[in-house]
């Protein structure tokens, strides 16, 4: 448990990092306390209607629990982000049901649009609930930008689909070869360029997107086709962080000046095995099923995060059920995000190879 503390502001977190997330997580220990704040991040709830008023219980419970726990945070976070894929198939019923659960949050809420929210009616009903698909705002000296990164080529969107639901279903499959790579698109890139013109190069910039604004794996659409162009627009800024959902797992990366951090889902983890069902599981089918820690506990390998933004860079505290909580924070010395416990290969736990 001998963690290295990256900076003074991490001291208290290190001191208390016993794998639990106390209500009083963040004490401010930085020079200018006015600029320190936290926000919570909940993502990928995939609320799924079975029929009528019946929804998949597992996904409901994930979002309900994240909302209930977020409400316990003290000091209170300044706001909550929802990272996209509130619904499974973009249905009005699903967005309404998910919206009702999210309405339990006691904080200001900002939302990111996910492909599961979008491809039925191209984000129309979502907009009624949560407003524009992309937007920016300033908070305590940080410039926040929310992008709609799950667009794709017009040709595909208006493609040969017999109906809107077919289009939705094709995009909902993670490894579906009939899908299409995600795209921010020219219109939004022009908007972004203009938005950034007002922002000083020393101002910390935090971008929220659903898909990663980096190219990880095209086969699963862990991908944004015009990621390179967006990264280029951000290269002159001192502190840039991209926080994305979609991948349902902890990922972090550094490309030049830009830090990338992924968030957990509240619904299910990627990857997962299809074992221990005993009842219809409603887990999406994946061509290559993979390992998961403990499928008995439906919340296992899901979670939500508390993000500390006290020096313009994020420290992600992952609240993980049935697991040791993790913190991935930017390390100014190495200039990259690092896991505070498992960064060194000696500290890493070997994958399970037998059952």
């Amino acid at each position: 448990m001998n963690e290295t503390c990256f900076s003074r502001r991490d001291f208290l977190k290190c001191a208390g990092a016993l794998g639990v997330l106390p209500l009083s997580t963040i004490e401010i220990a930085f020079a200018d306390p006015q600029k320190n704040f936290t926000f919570a991040y909940i993502s990928d709830s995939h609320i799924q209607q079975i029929r009528g008023t019946e929804f998949v219980r597992n996904w409901d419970r994930g979002l309900i629990r994240a909302v209930a726990e977020t409400n316990l945070l003290d000091p209170k976070p300044d706001f909550v982000m929802f990272g996209g894929d509130l619904a499974q198939l973009g249905k009005k019923e699903e967005l309404d049901h998910g919206g009702e659960i999210l309405s339990g949050l006691k904080y200001e809420l900002h939302c990111v649009l996910g492909e599961h929210d979008y491809y039925l009616d191209l984000g129309e009903y979502w907009s009624k609930l949560y407003g524009p698909h992309y937007y920016s705002w300033d908070h305590k000296g940080v410039h926040f930008i929310t992008l709609n990164s799950i667009l794709t080529y017009d040709k595909w969107i208006h493609g040969p689909w017999p109906n809107d639901m077919q289009r939705m279903v094709e995009m909902a499959g993670l490894d579906n070869p009939n899908g299409s790579p995600f795209l921010v698109g020219e219109k939004q890139r022009t908007w972004l360029q203009k938005d950034l013109e007002k922002v000083g190069k020393d101002t910390p910039v935090v971008i929220f997107s659903h898909s990663p604004i980096q190219k990880i794996y095209k086969g699963w659409n862990f991908w944004t086709e015009d990621a390179d162009e967006i990264q280029a627009m951000l290269k002159d800024y001192k502190d840039v962080t991209v926080v994305y959902g979609h991948v349902h797992q902890i990922q972090y990366n550094q490309i030049g000046n830009i830090s990338f951090n992924a968030v957990m889902a509240t619904a299910w983890p990627w990857p997962y095995p299809q074992s221990y069902a005993q009842a219809e599981s409603h887990l999406p089918k994946l061509t290559i099923p993979m390992n998961r820690a403990d499928p008995f506990f439906e919340r296992d390998a899901t979670g939500w995060q508390l993000i500390d933004l006290s020096n313009g860079r994020v420290a992600m505290r992952y609240n993980l059920y049935n697991n040791t909580n993790r913190t991935v924070a930017y390390n100014p010395a190495t200039r990259q995000p690092e896991d505070k416990m498992y960064q060194s290969s000696a500290a890493q736990i070997a994958p399970q190879i037998h059952f």
Binding site: V20, L23, R61, E69, D74, F296, F297, R299, Y321, N325
Partner: protein
């Protein structure tokens, strides 16, 4: 040396029989604890029982068992002079004839009939527990024994001095502590007192139930058909075995973990932010926590959270053993369920006692509706009734 070799061979043979006798064991194959298999093949520690279904009892290096120490521990366990009223002993809430609980009380009664917040957990097989108390706030039997003496709703002492005064002067104790620890006068401290109590408790192991004779002993007719069907449900659709472990060589029926199963916490759900917040602000010491959770029902319902302060532990309690459960009604950490059937129905409803009541926001991810039929519920109850050790069979009949 020779004796050891023979012993080891017998044990291996025994393990072999188990493996062959029951194909059903394969259905819980993923639960095999390799560590315990390795232990089985090693030398068994002194004083260990050879009861079917139990692993060797683990002993701390600094507290080896001796017959004299066990006898001293039993004397201390039964002595009611260690309470303010001289009426309450360890055995008041852990009655040997009630499988070391105080059944049928919902929650335990200490001095002056003061009640705590929790249902008395059994001492039986506590020797195997990795944490003690229902929220695991104590790491060892030795440490655990310290607390009830000085809890205001249990034995009520201000500190441990009155106990030391007695054991340092009472001639029987003076001679026993001298024999067991070679100590007398001020050299006798609570360390020796609790070591003796813990040694006694480590002898209170229970196995050899009809289930053990069937599963590990290969006695085909040790269980009824309903009990066998109940076993099959226990390890499959009932989802019981994931927390109440049955392994290939032993069954302690606990994972030693903590789970929110939807009991108690619902009563404070809307106040959790306030109660949890106040609790954390108080920054209580371990002994203050001990007092608080047993004297304030609302704080008690925070469960393991009061110890770990982790969100994941809100409203969660340690998985108890199921051995001899037919003797120890009522059930759950607060004694809120009267019968085993009510318990099974609670799980069948997905962690909800009365169908239609709200599901707790912090419910463990392992708990979900099971859709078992009434007959399946009956079969599971029948199986739970097959976990009674022979020494408590009479207690069931007299209920």
């Amino acid at each position: 040396m020779r004796e050891k070799a023979v012993k080891t061979m017998c044990l291996m043979l025994f393990a072999g029989i188990v493996a062959c006798a029951h194909v059903e064991a394969e259905s819980v194959g993923s639960q095999v604890n390799f560590e315990s298999v390795a232990l089985m093949n090693g030398e068994r520690p002194q004083g260990d029982s050879t009861l079917l279904g139990l692993p060797p009892v683990p002993y701390p290096e600094n507290n080896p068992q001796t017959p004299e120490k066990i006898a001293l521990g039993e004397k201390l366990f039964l002595d009611s002079r260690f309470s303010t009223t001289k009426e309450v002993s360890c055995s008041t809430c852990h009655l040997p004839e009630k499988a070391f609980t105080d059944s049928p009380l919902k929650v335990s009664e200490g001095i002056k009939k003061l009640t705590g917040t929790r249902n008395s957990p059994t001492v039986l097989n506590a020797a195997y527990a990795t944490t003690l108390f229902l929220d695991g706030r104590s790491p060892t039997l030795e440490d655990q024994a310290l607390h009830p003496f000085v809890n205001p709703v249990e034995m009520g002492l201000k500190d441990h001095q009155p106990i030391l005064d007695i054991v340092r002067t009472d001639p029987d104790y003076v001679s026993a502590f001298k024999t067991v620890f070679g100590k007398s006068g001020d050299a006798v401290t609570m360390t020796e007192v609790t070591q003796a109590i813990a040694s006694f408790e480590r002898t209170k192991v229970a196995g050899d139930s009809p289930f053990d004779r069937w599963f590990y002993g290969g006695e085909e007719d040790a269980l009824t058909d309903a009990q066998k069907r109940g076993y099959n449900l226990f390890v499959s659709e009932g989802r019981c075995v994931s927390c109440h472990l049955i392994e290939q060589t032993q069954a302690l029926f606990t994972d030693n973990r903590f789970h929110n199963i939807g009991v108690g916490i619902n009563q404070i759900q809307k106040d959790v932010p306030v109660i949890a917040g106040e609790f954390l602000k108080a920054e209580a010491t371990a002994s203050e926590v001990d007092v608080k959770v047993l004297s304030d029902k609302r704080t008690s319902e925070l469960g393991r959270f009061a110890v770990s302060r982790g969100f994941d532990d809100l409203g969660s309690f340690r998985t108890p053993t199921l051995r001899n459960i037919a003797v120890t009604a009522p059930y759950m950490h607060d004694g809120s369920l009267k019968t085993l059937r009510e318990v099974v129905v609670h799980y069948n409803n997905g962690g909800v006692t009365n169908e239609g009541d709200p599901v707790n926001d912090f419910l463990s991810g392992g708990i979900r509706p099971l859709n078992l039929s009434d007959k399946q519920v009956d079969d599971l109850v029948a199986f739970l009734e097959a976990l009674t050790s022979p020494e408590f069979a009479q207690a069931v009949k007299s209920r």
